[in-house]
Amino acid sequence: MESHEYDVVIVGGGGAGLRAAIELGESFPKLRIAVVSKVYPMRSHTVAAEGGAAAVIKSNDSLENHCHDTVSGSDWLGDQDVIETFVKEAPDELIRMEHWGCPWSREPNGQVAVRPFGGMVIERTWFAADKTGFHMLHTLYQTALKFQSLKWYDEWFVTKLLVDNGRCQGVAAIELLTGQLHAILGKAVILCTGGAGRLFPFTTNGAIKTGDGMFLAYQAGVALKDMEFVQYHPTGLPGSGILITEAARGEGGILTNKDGYRYLQDYGLGPPEPFRKRAMELGPRDRLSQAFVQEEAKGRTISTPFGSAVYLDLRHLGEATINKKLPFVRELSKNYAGIDPVYKPIPVRPVIHYVMGGVDTDVEGATVVPGLYAAGECACISLNGANRLGSNSLTELLVFGRRAAHAAAQFAAENPALASEKLKAQASDEQERIASQFIRKQGGNERVATLRLELNRLMEAGAGIYRSGDGLQKACSGIAALKDRFRNVALDDRSLSYNTELISVLELEFLLDIGQSLLHSALCRTESRGSHQRTDHTARDDQKFLKHSMAYRTDAEPRIEYKDVVITRWPPKERVYGK
């Protein structure tokens, strides 16, 4: 068993992982850092974020505003201490991105420009045209290349956390190139592996978003928090699920039904005129996606070969604005929908976009397992609660990537010992498990793709925009049956070098467990809040459910417990938009 020793091991090379890496390289240059990523860092899905990153920078805005927007956006399920920290640190983080070269779009006077975004009372979203995530990711990656203390493990897939004596001390990871499993030991480990949109069939998320870090922590005994809250982005291209950014609406795009009517006014988001923020098309994503389903039920959507849709109309913005502010929207619509938004409205429908839930952490990114930290979409630090506001997540990567790096560095300094031999033995066992369970396995007749597709269908049927107790119950039984069938899975590919089918089967194993935690959390939450809407429990129930769901892994079904939400300055109220 080959092994490598570091002070801090970062798993994931997206926005959060790279921000953590830069912080460690810059503030703790003596520490040896490993960045372990299953893809080359610039392939990470941060790359696909489009609209922007929120932070208070203009004099007409205030931290108070941003806090309140985020609290009410979260349907009061966000922890308010976390939200206050986030809002306070957000501007500095975006300024640092600017210093590192992020090509933020500018005003004529050279200051950064901001645009309106859904659920925000004022424009505060920094943007780089409509490729903000792409520019942030490449800026972070290229800046991180500067630090000699960072060792890059590109295309290494982490299969297990190495935990000894209750303390996380590294990871077991397969080098894709050779197929060999190594023990990468570290005094602290930060998980930054992103979300799990690939649980669902119709998602904006890339193929790599399989909830790896969520599973790793869940397996190590950390709760997955608030997993039932999954965001449908209201505007994805039918069929492919490719994202059409909320910035399209921030810049003035409107949503219309088959009659050209701005239907959002019928769902508590109007009236349509005059144009204002926190209303109509600039309402929060959960409300907009729910309005779509209602409109569909009334038969007022259009039909496409890929299901029903509504129109996102940008024509009135004109070609010059579209080219300047939304060039990627135009490119994507033309390429993948055959529609030029300058001349025609784009058909769109809600699409799985973001998992609010994730690895339970405190405001420093620390989990209950000493030495284990998490940041970014894989973590649930309780910034986003029951519904994330668009453009808060890119900033979240930075604020909490940095904080987790600090906490991890400090922990590593205080806990220098590594139980190397025991950890290596664990990694050997892990290698043997993978070899016997998949590579050398005899028999079995289930295909990876078949099981994955069935999981996807089951998740969509049970845990879509609207959920019911019956539907969730059925999905819970369905996923238990799928987990049984998973034991019978057999790979076509038994080779060592670059075995992508092996990676797929491990990802599927992760997804099955995460999906189960999601379904059980949803089943137990008998209320409607934010993105979790129950047809059999339609009201928010603060008495019983102003609480975080905590799903713990057991040998059978997950155990669901609850944890109080932190309320500081904004007691629960009704969520009001459109006024």
Binding site: L177, T178, L496, S497
Partner: protein
């Protein structure tokens, strides 16, 4: 875990039209150079007096010389056109936030070319 290295085939430049036209541009420079040599010879003959120049002119009337000039002209045109087509890439000009469109840069080159050629022709014909 040996990676597979694919050698560049010898005829790589025949496999795609853009590569072939690149090679044509490279080859065209030989003819342009050859023409320059002929041109230098002409200048030297002029300096040697009218008789030498007349003899030189007579030698140009051979079918071989005419053939060479036709071919050289063709390659000189290829050379010019292929380089002109690259000018918008080499010249990154901006007006405020907008890059000057490549058509404009290309067009200006052709206009300048025609104007200079016309000027030279005017001097020669007068």
């Amino acid at each position: 875990m040996k990676p597979y290295i694919r050698p560049m085939p010898r005829d790589w430049w025949l496999q795609r039209l853009p590569y072939l036209s690149f090679m044509a541009r490279e080859v065209s420079s030989i003819f342009v150079a050859a023409y320059v040599v002929v041109f230098m010879v002409m200048l030297s003959r002029i300096s040697q007096g009218p008789e030498a120049y007349q003899a030189f002119l007579a030698s140009l009337e051979s079918s071989l010389a005419i053939f060479f000039h036709v071919v050289a002209l063709a390659f000189a045109l290829i050379h010019t056109l292929s380089w002109f087509s690259l000018t918008p890439k080499a010249m990154m000009l901006y007006i405020g936030e907008n890059r000057v469109p490549s058509g404009l840069i290309l067009g200006s080159h052709y206009v300048a070319w025609i104007a200079i050629s016309a000027f030279v022709a005017w001097i020669l014909l007068n």
